[in-house]
Symmetry: C2
Subunit: 256 residues, 2 copies
């Protein structure tokens, strides 16, 4: 979606390492924004993005207009059920329909051998992987780790919306994920206990309003009832600072 930061650049560098030819798609996709969301004010700076993408090793930047992507009479969508009805999908109805459709289009246009996505948008990764499998799209999905600021805040194009006070508080998301991990390493196996502890930490340390804290199966995003050895779980959360939503996550293996 453009507004490139070091997180995006890390995806391009990973693609560069694996490929003879790297395409970066830049498209602020209107169909994945809700009515009340920030499509109009979403940061755009194509010239700067192209320079950053080239610097990170891209060969081609594909930056179509909305009219080119959705010509008159467009009536087709890709829908992914179940795994899009929770977490971000529950809060942002229609979001993943827009994401799945535009990703299918971009993959069909560019026809890559592999496509790199960021772990920052964890549910998007799960949805894209499932869509690719279900529709037999012949592409390998590669996931790059979340890139963080020095204080732990996950890089995001939306961080620019934060006031200085909110920006100072925002690293609490990452700290709270580390707290959840420490609880699990310490033997806690009740997701509800962990959820409550994480929410308390965020509320005590910031003005952020927690939208969800989730401990879910990494594959199908079903909420865990009790953690067991061998589980691979996605700990994810969404917190609002004023009108700015921040998300973050980590994937954990529950060991003995």
């Amino acid at each position: 979606m453009g507004a490139l930061h070091e997180g995006h650049c890390s995806l391009i560098r990973l693609a560069r390492e694996r490929s003879d030819l790297v395409i970066t798609t830049i498209f602020v996709n209107p169909t994945q924004f809700g009515e009340e969301e920030d499509f109009d004010r979403y940061p755009r700076n194509l010239e700067r993005d192209v320079a950053l993408a080239k610097g990170a090793g891209t060969d081609i930047v594909f930056a179509p207009s909305p009219e080119a992507m959705y010509p008159g009479g467009s009536v087709t969508a890709v829908i992914v059920e179940k795994i899009t009805e929770v977490l971000e999908g529950a809060i942002r109805p229609g979001h993943f329909r827009g994401v799945a459709t535009v990703v299918a289009k971009l993959l069909n246009i560019t026809r890559p051998d592999c496509a790199v996505f960021g772990q920052k948008d964890a549910q998007q990764v799960v949805v894209v992987r499932r869509m690719v499998r279900d529709l037999n799209i012949g592409v390998e999905i590669v996931v790059a780790p979340t890139v963080r600021e020095a204080d732990g805040l996950a890089m995001s194009s939306r961080n620019v919306y934060l006031t200085p006070a909110q920006r100072a508080e925002a690293p609490v998301l990452h700290r709270s994920l580390q707290h959840a991990e420490a609880l699990i390493r310490g033997g806690e196996r009740n997701p509800e206990t962990i959820r409550r502890s994480v929410m308390r930490l965020i509320s005590a340390a910031s003005s952020g309003v927690v939208q969800y804290v989730s401990l879910a199966d990494e594959g199908d995003l079903e909420e865990c009832r009790m953690l067991s050895r061998g589980d691979r779980i996605l700990v994810s959360l969404a917190v609002r600072f004023g009108s700015t939503r921040l998300i973050d996550n980590c994937v954990l293996d529950v060991s003995s």
Copy 2:
């Protein structure tokens, strides 16, 4: 969907003329049948189909199992709105969702330069063309004319369901399309008049129950209010003989 007849073979021969390599997909797709429809009794004879497909010039037959096409956890569908809500789509809810999804999958698996469909399923052609355009699937859709029995009945795998008496009546579909064409050539411009005349002809000449007679724009399937010179219209109809549904159609250019 297998149960190959001369209509299918004509598609394979057309593909053969245009291509170095021809793949025939044979798959009775469960997701495009309604609850009350004939999935279980749909005619299947893979050995015979493979022989016919090879005889018509196919290099490869791709005949996957339902389990291979829809492994556990499949949650993705391709939906096409508006043009799937009329005609066959109005009578067969979910049908075109199943068709669009399986065609997207088969195109992704086989990755052809062109794919041949039969004009017999006119709405399917419109839906597949739109989906291919909307999702940027890089394939040329080629349409082959309907192949008919000597008495005009359009070839269909479902013709085997007809009793001898119904089979004797069934050519009335084609005759009624010719009647509609004659009315238009004769200057009739009111679709409602043509529809009523076609329905009278079918009712007078057969036991068939008319489900619809449609005169619609060939591109977006919107029903015509009045025919005008230069219109390209799809005349289509569906008639039930007992529990067997037959469909047929023709495309007409309205001239002066």
